[in-house]
């Protein structure tokens, strides 16, 4: 497959959040601000990229019946690496993202790509796919996070855009996440049709 197409499909055509409807939990859980969305997206992209690479490298050595547990262990290892590195070098972000960092291991996107793609393709294709899907995921998170942050707190990337007195608090709370995501999916579906 053309590697450019392989990379770019993660953004609109096969966007994991808006089209494939995977990885919903972190999408709703960490997008109360654009920075959080960005941090989570990049952390997940790292895990996706590395686990896709490793799975693609050792796929011939893993007996079929234990492939899911093996993939899970590999993914869990990279998630732990992310946990440790973030705790050490970006502790503020680590605290904001909280529970959702270890939950990357059960992000259906990561296991899904390892199973559906990396285990059936060569190293370069798998790596590019991981990168593309991961960045597409990041794009979705930043978009959702940005909208929620702007409408719900008057800030964007922590920069005050308008006064706190005019915010619609709902958007940074739980219901706002569901509602904004619902509308975003509807909009993206329309864009895809055109």
């Amino acid at each position: 497959m053309n590697q450019w197409k392989n990379f770019s499909k993660g953004f609109i055509k096969e966007n994991p959040v808006f089209v494939l409807l995977l990885g919903m939990c972190p999408t709703l859980g960490v997008t109360s601000s654009a920075i959080n969305g960005l941090g989570m997206g990049l952390a997940t992209t790292f895990v996706l990229l590395m686990s896709n690479i490793v799975v693609s490298l050792i796929k011939s050595q893993i007996p079929d019946k234990v492939r899911i547990p093996s993939f899970i262990v590999i993914i869990a290892a990279f998630v732990t690496v992310v946990q440790l590195v973030m705790q050490a070098y970006v502790p503020e972000l680590y605290k904001s993202l909280g529970l959702f960092i270890p939950l990357i291991v059960v992000n259906c996107i990561v296991l899904g790509r390892a199973e559906a793609f990396a285990s059936k393709n060569n190293l370069v294709t798998a790596a590019v796919d991981g990168l593309g899907i991961g960045l597409g995921f990041t794009f979705a998170l930043v978009l959702l996070g940005g909208i929620r942050e702007l409408l719900g707190s008057g800030k964007l990337f922590d920069i005050i855009i308008y006064s706190e007195n005019y915010v619609t608090l709902l958007f940074v709370l739980a219901p706002g996440a569901f509602i904004v995501l619902g509308y975003l999916i509807a909009i993206i579906n329309r864009i895809k049709k055109d």
Partner: protein, 190 residues
């Protein structure tokens, strides 16, 4: 900590799906029909409680005892994956009909963030084993409650005329948002 506060907190105030955003994938995927929702809620409840007990024991007697806390993610997810396998085997023997109905969603319980989430939260909140079990059972009930409420709503939603662009997942999410708003009303309880 007061047991009642744990129970009310987990089921209503901090509902695992509608407030904490854990378990969304099955929430959206299985809630189209009330009958499958019931089966899924039951299976998740079983795995959630069992997983919380086993992971708690592992955390205390192995991870903490040997200073291996950083292996928590790997250890916990392996426990959950094994438990789900166990449930699959048992279900196949005991109720093949339910096994068929749940289909692909059964192995997907492994990636249900709610289960891993509850296991980790039990440790983070420093519950003891009894509190942990109560917490797990309450969250399982909360998950089931959200799932069943939503499935009931969706069965009705399917019969309404929804604008074309919003059909399917978008309207489901917006409805979930309204349901979440309703649950926010419980915040005065504790």
């Amino acid at each position: 900590m007061n047991y009642l506060v744990i129970v009310i907190g987990a089921i209503l105030v901090n509902n695992i799906v509608l407030m904490q955003f854990l378990g969304i994938c099955p929430f959206l995927g299985v809630s189209k029909r009330l009958s499958t929702a019931v089966g899924m809620a039951g299976a998740v409840a079983f795995v959630m409680v069992l997983a919380t007990i086993v992971t708690y024991l592992i955390q205390v007697f192995i991870l903490d005892a040997f200073g291996l806390a950083f292996l928590q993610t790997i250890a916990f997810i392996l426990v959950i994956a094994s438990l789900v396998q166990l449930v699959e085997i048992i279900l196949k023997k005991v109720s093949p009909a339910l096994y068929q109905a749940l289909g692909i969603f059964l192995p997907l319980i492994t990636t249900n963030c709610a289960i891993l989430g509850v296991a980790i939260l039990t440790i983070q909140k420093e519950f003891n084993l009894v509190e942990g079990v109560i917490f797990a059972v309450s969250n399982a009930i909360g998950f089931g409650l959200a799932l069943l409420l939503f499935a009931g709503i969706r069965e009705h939603l399917d019969l309404q005329s929804v604008p074309k662009g919003l059909k399917g997942t978008p309207i489901a999410l917006i409805t979930a948002g309204i349901l979440a708003m309703a649950f926010m009303g419980f915040s005065g309880l504790v």
